[in-house]
């Protein structure tokens, strides 16, 4: 029997509760499709700070590196806001991404028909939305050097560097072109080439690469225009390619089009080696330990891990179909509109998903 080594990072806030639901569903489909999963649970973010005073302990990174895939819930809490940035939960996540070399963040955005009324946009605007944001994740202004603070004639001055090399642009653009090739063959690259040198190089390289993918229709949007187009007519997009900072903003904007970020998974990948799978939503410390969190994005992240990370497509299909069934049967968590629907707690929703498998 094939056995996979999966590192679990429950993280902070609602993380442990929703992870619990996800592992139960994974166990179920593993048994059904006859593969084994060995879990290793590790600390990251706030929980790691509490125990080791370090948001990404060495042993967590080491375990992730030698795993087949990493499943993360969410990190962060206002509790740590006063700490210096390198000591905060977010640094654990950033260091995990760069430590594993996960340069490609993949965020599919699709509206669940049963949840279409959740969106703050009109139904006809969002009903055909089916896009994927491909965000560069280990470069750009998130990691650029130099950065810091210094004294200047105008008082203190702080600075960061947004930078990309042709190598970094080419490898993420290739991921996006390949994904577009497998989908509707439309790629939109987002930059600010009318102002930024780094965006100009970005655009040049993307155009250069496009000659290798003649079947993919490429267009470019300035990031400000992209932020508008996503609201105006989001179904014009298939695959969106962009850098780390623009991708952070644009992918969250795209996620919110659905009205339910409690339903969206993501993958962070490199060419070879373990990927990281996590929901798009955060750790929601305000509702932690109340058994009201929505575990569905977490289960869908597990499905993405099974499909993309472990190539267990049938198991992934089952999880996604179970979510679909639960929604169609009228079950909701309290973050989703509840008019005439049955509201379940986190654990109950987990049981409902299991019963639908």
């Amino acid at each position: 029997m094939k056995t996979y080594n999966v590192v679990l990072l429950p993280g902070d806030g609602i993380g442990p509760e929703i992870m619990d639901v996800a592992t139960k569903t994974i166990d179920y489909v593993a048994q059904k499709y006859n593969f084994g999963i060995e879990y290793e649970q590790k600390l990251i973010g706030g929980s790691a700070i509490d125990k080791y005073n370090d948001p990404l302990p060495e042993e967590t990174l080491k375990a992730c590196k030698s795993s087949d895939a990493v499943l993360l819930s969410a990190i962060g809490s206002p509790k740590y806001d006063a700490l210096p940035r390198e000591k905060r939960p977010e640094s654990g996540l950033l260091n995990l991404r760069s430590g594993l070399g996960l340069f490609a963040n993949i965020r599919p955005v699709k509206v669940w028909p049963a949840l279409i009324s959740e969106s703050s946009l009109k139904q006809e605007i969002v009903q055909n939305v089916d896009l994927v944001v491909v965000r560069e994740l280990t470069g750009g202004i998130y990691f650029g050097q130099p950065k810091g603070r210094l004294q200047s004639e105008n008082g203190e001055r702080a600075f960061n560097t947004m930078t990309y090399s042709t190598m970094e642009i080419d490898r993420i653009a290739r991921v996006a072109f390949e994904l577009a090739t497998d989908r509707k063959k439309k790629l939109c690259s987002i930059d600010k080439a009318n102002v930024l040198d780094v965006s100009q190089l970005w655009r040049e390289r993307v155009i250069e690469l496009s000659y290798n993918f003649p079947k993919v229709e490429l267009n470019h949007l300035y990031v400000d225009n992209a932020a508008m187009q996503l609201i105006r007519q989001p179904d014009q997009f298939d695959v969106i390619l962009t850098g780390n900072l623009f991708g952070d903003i644009i992918s969250d904007e795209a996620a919110m089009l659905t009205g339910s970020i409690g339903m969206l998974p993501s993958a962070s990948l490199r060419l070879e080696g373990p990927g990281l799978f996590e929901p798009v939503h955060g750790s929601a410390p305000d509702i932690a330990n109340k058994d009201i969190a929505n575990p569905m994005a977490m289960v869908l992240s597990a499905a993405m891990m099974l499909r993309v990370g472990l190539k267990e497509n049938n198991a992934a299909d089952d999880l996604e179909n179970a979510i679909d069934k639960v929604l169609k049967d009228g079950y909701r968590t309290s973050d989703l509109m509840t008019n005439g629907k049955k509201v379940l707690g986190c654990r109950e929703m987990g049981e409902q998903i299991l019963m639908s498998l």
Copy 2:
């Protein structure tokens, strides 16, 4: 009789057509309220490149500097895309902003009741939207040094610097706090302080300044979350304060909530000296010279110039009321939904506005 010196910058694309409408309405209210306007028309953007090979000729900047206010239509055309960035129309605008020291960009976003169906968002989500984005306009990554390209071990590498000093942050934050004081006393500052050093300084200074404005309720959002909140519940915002790049993205996103960026004016200001007033929309080269452009944002920019730049509040009120009347009377331009409405060309719409004055 008081006489104002106004520099007109019709720019490119639909710019001249809509400027024509705006000056006619200004002339009308000037006569009514008994003040004089002396126009000086200058070139900027593509039209300046065509004539002087320079997107901001020295004489344009000089005229603007010694004026009472500058009224700009829009610049840009794909025709100039192949030029180096410093030679493109956008550089004319950026150099005008920095040349005049216009560090404060003010963009009000309000839904016109008659146009509420234009929005791609649900009516109940947008009907109470009434916010102003205050964007820092002469600093940040738009102007940060160093920037450029170099050879590296990973091929070519391009870079820009995002930087702010306490002086730059304090003066724009003060504008936002004062504006919030005159409005609903809510200020939301947008940054990425969980990742960027420059955002950390930004947040520290904004907090520091808030002690001088105890009546203003201040909160902070990370830019990715802000991009979501604007879609989820845009009426939670009153005044939004942010840097140059985040402001570019967030203000366009906010503008699109209304569904009709053909209706939105903006002001770019400094503490003393002439301000720049312009519509939020672009030069729309595809519909130039077809007499179908929407001149209303241009007229509203003229109103903003009259109110903020020249303190002719009655004249400004009249222009805004005329637009309101035209809309209520069912007149539209072709960019706006036309079900059962009367569609007018640019010139006709100008006449209709004049008749409503």
